[in-house]
Symmetry: C2
Subunit: 251 residues, 2 copies
DNA sequence: TCAATAACGATCAAATATAATCATTTTTAT
DNA sequence: ATAAAAATGATTATATTTGATCGTTATTGA
């Protein structure tokens, strides 16, 4: 087993275990500790992991767009569940909007087999997720890239969205309550969400239960905007009831 | 059994086993180890597998956009040279267009320290390359993603480009000759190139010497379109002279 | 703080793989 | 049919990888 092969195995191990010490690795791979050290040194130089005394730690996500994707591999079970449920609403032949939230992103793996499909998105990770998906056409919204969110926002993006129409829009929010409706942290995201909602027939809001009942600072849309709320099973009965009085549909 | 046949078998074996050493392969295919090495060398050059000491490994699944980036790490010395020279034309504060060719992409690493900088591009790998570059604002052209080229083409993209203006445009081409001017393989790319050229003051064509004197099938622009040609040092004196008669400037 | 322990880096030697060169065979073109 | 070109195999010199030793440095616990 050469270096390349070990390198891959080491990174694979770290993917799962977060961290590991030299001797453990040496035993695991049946190779001397000093060689493992050399390997770790090289890998650390490539910034594929972080060297510690006596071992190594998983590197923080860093790659351009896939970083986001990797991060979401450890998305909470709640988000994953929502992603799956939301994806079930999509049918072959649909045209859909997807915004740039991490919850919406969890739909991606579940969408890959729904073909043909046309996705209009401002999210670079979403676009990246479908680069290898035959039968899925991605329309990326243009404009200035917001590196923080790995997405595109702004007036141009909104104009771009408005020139399209889709059957369904899948959007996220930072907060949702019966009293204040939908709230966001940033006007940028709120603008995109509103635009997508305006150009779609059905608007599905993906929102895990931890955000329900909480308000962020910018109130940008009423509950009546959305066709249905896709959330997880940990939503309390009381909260569900309150929202139902506002005629919110649940998935 | 010829090379093509072995090549297929080697890749087939690696599909299953992930990795294998030279001697094993030699035994398996009944051929000498040195020939296997030569085969592996070629396959590695095509990036169909990864060469290791003593064997080979299956090529890793290529990441969405960075795949392109990785590939270019082994870009020919010629292309790298061109990328460096072209990047030297960019000054802090500039707004530039960059198209989606692999030659243009080689400019990226050299641009990271030229800040502030504003880049308008239809290339996803270019956008990805600057995700971590503070001080560089990327404007991504919107529209349908062409997965093959990892770029965005089409009427919407062209309209997007036309709404901007930049001091400099860096574009590529598939062929260039004194007789036929600039030629391309695809109308998609030609449209983008033309649009960028139309919205920029100075148009720099990046083109390695192997493409000079050759024509692709679509003739899309005259040599007079470009401000200067950025190429490598392997360009023959005769070719240079011919182009100079057409008033082409060299960098 | 200090000593004990463990990890680290540098250097060396052995094993192995590779590149380079040349000879042989096979294929291709004329 | 013959020469030229390409592919293959063998041999040798070079380069790489690996593991061991030893002196140095960092961490841990009293």
């Amino acid at each position: 087993m050469g270096f390349q092969e070990r390198k891959r195995k080491i990174l694979k191990i770290l993917e799962k275990t977060e961290s590991m010490d030299v001797q453990e690795m040496a035993d695991e791979l049946g190779i001397s500790a000093i060689t493992i050290r050399r390997d770790l040194q090289q890998l650390a130089a490539e910034e594929l992991l972080i060297r510690t005394h006596g071992g190594a730690m998983k590197a923080p996500p860093q790659h351009p767009f896939t970083a986001f994707a990797d991060k979401e591999q450890v998305a909470s079970a709640r988000k994953k569940y929502i992603g799956k449920r939301a994806a079930a609403l999509v049918k072959p032949g649909d045209t859909i909007f997807m915004d740039c939230g991490s919850t919406v992103f969890t739909m991606c793996p579940h969408l890959k087999n729904i073909t043909p499909l046309r996705i209009i998105t401002n999210s670079l990770p979403v676009a990246a997720a479908f680069m290898d998906a035959a039968g899925i056409q991605v329309n990326l919204i243009g404009g200035e890239i917001d590196k923080e969110r790995k997405a595109i926002h702004g007036d141009r993006a909104i104009a771009h969205i408005k020139s399209y129409h889709a059957a369904k829009a899948f959007v996220g929010t930072d907060g949702l309550s019966a009293k204040r409706g939908l709230t966001a942290i940033s006007e940028k995201e709120a603008g995109i969400t509103t635009a997508m909602a305006g150009s779609a027939d059905h608007i599905y809001l993906l929102c895990d239960s931890s955000k329900i009942g909480k308000d962020s600072y910018l109130k940008f849309a009423p509950l009546s905007l959305i066709t249905a709320l896709v959330t997880d099973q940990e939503l309390s009965a009381a909260q569900a009831a309150t929202l139902r009085t506002k005629k919110v549909n649940f998935i």
